[in-house]
């Protein structure tokens, strides 16, 4: 039967059923119980799946799609999808009837992604309504039974959410009482639903019942259905007493209702045990019955009930159950009138004797070891009191055993250490005197191995302390470092001494081995040797032993433990090796890890090995190999999400680097997709309470990756609403961020990416103002953050980020395909930038806003939309003037920035049609520095544009010959402040650095002559323009490169056409 149960469980798959997941989120105290309950009930996913498949086999694609949406966490889409199916012809009526149920289930499942208990409560409430309405409809008994049971689960889930809400510190005692009452009501409702469900299911599975399911020998599905309902029946039966017990706990200790409920719970639990005594569910029920008896103060009864569990064998199957039973028993034994020391010793000693290394350190087992020590000491007292020939030696022996246990507990940091120390003191036990004399040589290999394990246990503790001191030293303040260093040195010395002594002992242990010694025992000793070397930092030695065992004795016990050390040792050696020569370490590490992965797929050792291989592959940017080994990681591997995130990040960084080197975007597209997959995986498996910096960064970069892929909505969703939302992490001051040395960088990147996301949303939205407001809000938060954090480089950073935003905005603008879109985007930008300018009193930011506006205005103008560009130019003028007024006081770059500001303002003035003002501005700048080539070019351009705009030939002449006569301060000769194209040509000719300016001025010169000729209707002027170009061609047939050559040829053709007319 047991085997059958296991097979059923196996066939049900590893993932927890949806409904169970919901229940597992139930009341915290009951999580463990419900987890256990879920084991017996056969995966509900399978069950529900089977129900649906029975109902609507034809609806399989819809059902599969729905399940896939749920699995991927797309609950909102799943709900929408279900709504869309209501009027669909593609599903059967039977499945259509189930839609409300599916919807409720989806909503409940979605709660796990919600952090705010209020939202969770609202969602569960809505699901509840749907389900209640569904239950009220006329439906089959099967459907009703299932709905009732699910309703019970839903009520139960709501208890947890309600308890969370009621636990808020902001509530008054009366308000908390209200929540407590609500939880009680919810539990009552859950109980009612379960009891009704039990009744209905019982009718279905009772062959004598007229409504019972009939088994058709010709139809295997009919038998399967009965089996499913039987399983469901068991599940409900186990849940009922759990809810009753939970309900009892809502009352004060001596409340009559509490006593009644607990008594009922005991009775129900006992019934379950009676029916399923050989099943885990039955044994769990027995444990819970004992717990309820204990709550009732019936300690003798509690211990009596646990007897059956005590008598189970010590296999791993029952270890946890027995541990729980002993914990309950420990409390009850201490409440009995006479402390049953002999019974406790007899019960606990055999179990404690076979604890493995992990169990010995487990807090629950430590509690049990403590109880055994207490019992042994009590026995010693009794033996001593009874007197007799051997009373002294026997009691000493017992005390020695008790002391040994306590000494073991003291070695392990944790809650029990202090109590153990206290007992040692109370009992007046001198540890050294009372423990076994270490000098006595072990007689057999097994004795020696046991003692060696004790020694190594001590080293483990020392190693833990040593590591802790290393961490402390890394984060210690300068003033604390000397004392921490001293402590660390002492600790290291102690550790090395112990490890060396242990190694000597282990050598002598191996000398005791003979032909009868089991290879597994020898391997265990080898494994301990490996650990000792590891503790001493002798990683070569540690790794060699581990690798040897792996290669030659892979199937022998003890080898797996050593392989973990082997990988860690090679990792240390790899880290320690010189950067230039890590080939040996890399080779060994890769080979060892590969061997582990191949040897024990799915194991925790494979987790470490595969993750190491992934890391190595990442280092080498071998993403294909990294992916291959990532796939080998066990699903439950603790560092899986972190690693996924890291892999995704490295893929993403690599993608960006390649993109910067102008690799074709299409070629890189698969890499972007994979980066997203891994970042998504890292984000999905992460939880807020266990979040680390690496994963948080992955979540942030995922936003960026979505933006890169054009998935703006997903980016914003990830940014704002996902469980790990980067902006929320900053707001919450999450320790994963605040405790990271890169906290500041994370915040800046978050702001930058958030602004990018919001700006990207502008042109996709019907309400761009909303996105502008969000972007402005983030900018304000960013500035506030930097000021609050007293960042000395805050201004520079803010300016850098603004620069990036400007680049991003322009890139977005350029990427738009139609002029209309561009105009719309420009309009949105106008509001955005105007609001920034208005809200800021920082000249740099206002300057940035003005510059950005100018750039966008020029782009719009270049599109041939001068009217649309005009308001942008005007706003730019306004912003730049305000920036000048605010000033750049204290900034060493102030003069250069002011000149640039004035130049840009002149350009903006020109764009808005104020040519005169622009020329005045350029002249002012040139008065200070006539050799400012950039401004000379701008001024000549402006004169030419003004001439064209006003139809004034004099301006063309000035554009060519120069304007504003003045005396050159250097040569003292009469000259012109604005040079004009001719002088620029002369000044820039033959200089490689000013080659572009030369060809521009030459081009503009020819253009000016042509336009002048056209304006004045003088063909010779037009011909002189042609002559200018032809002369230039003779001097340089390439005309300064492809771009200029094309422009010159176009102009030449234009001139020729004019000359022909």
């Amino acid at each position: 039967m047991m085997l059958k149960w296991k097979q059923n469980n196996k066939s049900a798959g590893a993932s927890p059923p949806v409904a169970f997941s919901v229940v597992q989120r139930g009341h915290r105290k009951y999580i463990e119980e419900i987890r256990i309950v879920s084991k017996i009930a056969i995966n509900l996913t399978f069950m529900i799946g089977s129900f649906v498949s029975v109902i609507a086999a034809a609806d399989e694609p819809a059902e599969r799609f729905l399940q896939a949406l749920r699995d991927e966490g797309y609950f909102d889409i799943a709900v929408d999808y279900l709504s869309s199916l209501e009027n669909s012809d593609l599903i059967s009526d039977a499945f259509r009837q189930q839609l409300p149920f599916e919807k409720a289930e989806t909503m409940v499942a979605s709660v796990k992604t919600v952090r705010d208990p209020k939202i969770a409560d609202a969602r569960l409430n809505e699901a509840q309504k749907i389900l209640t309405e569904f239950a009220g409809k006329d439906q089959s008994l099967e459907s009703l039974a299932r709905t009732l049971r699910y309703q019970g689960n839903l009520y139960h889930s709501r208890v947890k959410v309600n308890d969370l809400l009621g636990a808020s510190d902001r509530l008054t005692a009366t308000e908390k009482e209200v929540f407590a009452d609500q939880s009680r009501e919810l539990l009552k409702n859950a109980l009612k639903s379960y009891m009704l469900a039990r009744e209905k299911v019982r009718q279905l599975i009772d062959p004598a019942s007229p409504e019972g399911l009939k088994i058709d020998p010709q139809d295997p599905a009919s038998l399967a259905k009965v089996k499913q309902f039987k399983t469901l029946y068991t599940d409900i039966r186990v849940r009922i007493p759990l809810v009753i017990e939970q309900l009892a706990d809502t009352y004060p200790d001596n409340h009559p209702q509490r006593i009644t409920d607990l008594t009922n719970a005991v009775s129900e639990y006992k019934d379950v045990y009676a029916d399923y005594s050989s099943f885990p569910a039955g044994l769990d029920a027995l444990l819970f019955a004992a717990r309820c008896s204990q709550k009732l103060g019936q300690h003798k009864e509690a211990v009596f009930l646990l007897e059956d569990i005590f008598n189970l064998n010590d296999s791993s199957t029952f270890r946890k159950l027995k541990r729980s039973a002993f914990l309950v028993a420990c409390d009850s034994w201490n409440k009995l009138e006479a402390y049953p020391a002999a019974e406790i010793s007899a019960r606990l000693e055999p179990v404690v004797a076979v604890l493995n290394r992990e169990e010995i350190r487990d807090p629950a087992w430590l509690r049990i070891q403590m109880e055994l020590a207490i019992a042994k000491h009590q026995l010693a007292v009794e033996v001593r009191a009874a007197g007799g020939a051997r009373s002294s030696s026997d009691s000493d022996d017992l005390d020695r055993q008790a002391a040994k246990l306590l000494r073991g507990i003291v070695r392990i940091p944790g809650d029990h250490r202090e109590r153990a120390e206290q007992l040692i003191s109370e009992w007046n036990i001198t540890i050294a005197a009372k423990t076994e004399p270490e000098s006595k040589a072990p007689a057999t290999f097994v004795d020696a191995k046991q003692r060696a394990q004790d020694l190594v246990l001590e080293i483990e503790t020392l190693l833990g302390e040593n590591s802790q001191l290393k961490r402390q030293l890394a984060s210690a303040a300068e003033s604390d470092k000397p004392s921490t260093k001293t402590l660390l040195a002492e600790s290291t010395e102690r550790l090395n001494e112990q490890a060396l002594a242990a190694l000597t002992f282990l050598d002598s242990t191996l000398d005791l081995a003979d032909d009868t010694t089991a290879r597994a025992d020898i391997n265990s000793v080898r494994s301990l040797q490996s650990f000792c070397y590891f503790a001493m930092g002798q990683y070569f030695e540690s790794a060699v032993i581990g690798e040897f065992l792996l290669e030659k004795y892979p199937t022998v016990d003890g080898t797996r433990a050593a392989t973990t050390l082997m990988i860690q040792s090679y990792l240390q050696l790899y880290d320690q090796a010189a950067e230039a020569d890590k080939s040996y370490e890399l080779g060994r590490l890769s080979r060892a890890c590969t061997a582990v992965v191949e040897r024990w797929p799915g194991s925790s050792e494979t987790g470490l090995a595969a993750s190491t291989l992934v890391r190595l592959a990442i280092t080498q940017k071998d993403f294909a190999t990294a992916e291959q080994y990532f796939a080998q990681l066990p699903e439950n591997y603790a560092g899986r999400s972190q690693l996924a995130s890291r892999l995704g990040q490295r893929m993403w960084f690599d993608y960006r680097a390649k993109l910067a080197n102008t690799v074709d975007r299409q070629i890189l597209d698969p890499q972007l997709k994979q980066a997203k997959v891994f970042l998504e995986l890292g984000a999905r498996e992460a939880t807020l309470d266990q979040l680390d910096y690496e994963t948080a960064l992955g979540c942030l970069l995922l936003v960026d990756a979505h933006l890169e892929a054009g998935e703006i909505e997903l980016a914003v969703q990830r940014l704002e609403n996902s469980e790990i939302a980067p902006l929320d992490l900053i707001k919450q001051k999450h320790p994963a961020i605040t405790q990271s040395p890169a906290a500041s960088l994370f915040r800046q990147e978050s702001y930058k990416i958030a602004i990018k996301a919001y700006l990207a949303s502008i042109h996709h939205s019907d309400n761009p103002q909303a996105w502008i407001d969000k972007a402005s809000g983030v900018i304000a938060a960013m500035r506030e953050d930097m000021e609050a954090n007293d960042d000395p480089q805050a201004r520079q950073r803010v300016t850098q980020i603004y620069g990036l935003i400007a680049t991003e905005l322009l890139a977005q603008f350029e990427a738009l395909s139609s002029a209309e879109e561009k105009a719309k985007f420009a309009n949105s930008l106008l509001s955005f930038l105007a609001s920034i300018e208005k809200d800021s009193n920082d000249a740099r930011i206002v300057l940035w806003a003005g510059s950005t506006l100018l750039n966008v205005a020029q782009s719009v103008n270049d599109l041939g939309q001068p009217n649309e560009a005009k308001p942008l130019y005007q706003q730019a003028v306004s912003a730049l003037s305000r920036a000048e007024t605010l000033g750049f006081a204290g900034d060493p770059q102030a003069p250069a920035m002011t000149t640039e500001l004035q130049r840009q303002r002149a350009l903006a003035q020109r764009g808005s049609g104020n040519f005169e003002g622009a020329i005045e501005q350029f002249a002012l700048i040139l008065e200070k520095n006539p050799r400012n080539l950039k401004v000379q070019l701008n001024a000549a351009e402006t004169l030419q544009a003004w001439g064209k705009s006003a139809g004034r030939s004099k301006l063309y002449t000035e554009a060519v010959m120069g304007a504003r006569p003045f005396t050159d301060p250097t040569t003292k000769r009469p000259s012109k402040l604005i040079w004009g194209w001719e002088k620029i040509c002369t000044a820039t000719r033959g200089n490689e650095k000013t080659q572009d300016a030369f060809y521009q001025s030459l081009y503009q010169l020819a253009e000016c002559r042509m336009e002048y000729g056209l304006l004045e209707q003088k063909k010779e002027a037009i011909a002189s323009a042609l002559q200018e170009i032809e002369n230039a061609e003779k001097r340089d047939p390439e005309l300064g490169g492809a771009i200029w050559k094309r422009k010159f040829l176009e102009l030449k053709n234009q001139i020729k056409q004019h000359l022909q007319q």
Partner: protein, 357 residues
């Protein structure tokens, strides 16, 4: 070869040597029966009583009731003479159990060796053998002193059936003092011993000496001789594998390290690691080959296997320590080098490797 068998051979030789001495000594109690304990294939012994009529380095001939019986030295557990002092028997037992200091202590208790002249040869050999073993195990006797004792014994007893075991010990002592060129001819004598085990050891030890002399090709030939032997019993098989890995070492030292590494790794991969002697030599050979290939870390790893996992095999362990003492400084691991050096100097202080360091 296990100490027990070797010691039995030594003891047997001692007794026969005593008889031999009697043959040349007119005061010997001739005509009296002796008992030869003969080793059986199953590990037990059988007794043969009678007059020993002939003693040669190859064995003894006993005139038993059923006629003359030739017993090869390799099959002689012990030969007990009449009136043998009790201390001789106890010394023999101590030698058998590796308590070499106690052997000498027992023999010193014999106040008048002339009371039992037939045992004098045995006493001399037990003294030489125990002294050699003490020296080879890093005891208080130098290899030179032990060697002199053994040379004296062999010189005085050239026809003793202890001849080959004594010669083997002498070879080892010569090697220990760093004279492989003198050890090699001693080991070469063993090849003539007509005893399969002794021949195998002769070839093997000769090969080892030739390597130390820098005659790698000759060493390879010596190891090849073992591999070409037709016998296929366990002992021969075991030596064939040993010869294979040491031949690979010789090959590596001639520059063919890649082939050598492959050959050794094949052995490591296939054979049982419980064959400690083979694995110790295999890892040492691998270490040498890696050194030749200039792979220092790989070499260190190989020698570390012997150091950590096969330290019970004294000869290869000493070699591994020697090599590690030289490699670690090159890997900037001076602490480790110092540890290896100290262990070698204390644990194997009279060994060839300690002398070489």
């Amino acid at each position: 070869m296990p100490i027990r068998i070797q010691t039995r051979l030594l003891l047997t030789l001692l007794l026969v040597g005593g008889i031999c001495h009697q043959l040349t000594c007119p005061t010997a109690a001739r005509g009296q029966d002796e008992t030869v304990y003969r080793l059986r294939a199953d590990g037990g012994t059988s007794k043969v009583s009678g007059k020993v009529t002939e003693i040669t380095p190859f064995g003894v001939t006993v005139q038993s009731n059923s006629g003359p019986l030739e017993i090869p030295f390799a099959e002689i557990d012990k030969v007990v003479t009449v009136n043998e002092p009790l201390e001789v028997g106890r010394a023999r037992d101590r030698l058998e159990t590796g308590r070499f200091d106690d052997v000498l202590a027992e023999l010193q208790k014999i106040t008048d060796p002339n009371k039992a002249p037939a045992a004098r040869n045995e006493i001399e050999f037990l003294t030489a053998a125990a002294t050699a073993q003490i020296s080879l195990r890093g005891g208080s006797v130098t290899a030179q002193d032990a060697g002199r004792t053994m040379v004296e014994y062999l010189k005085n007893n050239p026809t003793s059936y202890h001849f080959y075991p004594g010669t083997e010990l002498l070879g080892k002592l010569l090697l220990a003092v760093g004279r492989p060129e003198l050890a090699e001819p001693e080991f070469a004598k063993l090849i003539e011993s007509k005893s399969k085990a002794m021949i195998l050891r002769g070839y093997f030890s000769r090969g080892e000496s030739l390597i130390e002399m820098g005659k790698f090709a000759d060493a390879a030939t010596a190891f090849q001789a073992i591999q070409s032997m037709e016998a296929n019993d366990d002992l021969t098989q075991s030596y064939k594998l040993l010869a294979k890995v040491r031949q690979a070492k010789a090959q590596a030292l001639q520059g063919q390290f890649a082939e050598a590494i492959q050959a050794i790794q094949d052995v490591i991969k296939v054979e049982s690691p419980d064959n400690e002697l083979l694995f110790a030599y295999a890892y040492n050979s691998l270490g040498t080959a890696q050194l030749q290939a200039n792979n220092l870390k790989e070499a260190a790893t190989a020698f570390l296997h012997t150091e950590l996992l096969y330290s019970s095999q004294s000869e290869p362990h000493a070699e591994a320590l020697y090599q590690l003492a030289l490699i670690w400084p090159q890997l900037e691991q001076t602490d480790r080098a110092s540890r290896a050096r100290n262990t070698l100097k204390t644990r194997y202080r009279n060994s060839f490797w300690a002398t070489k360091l």
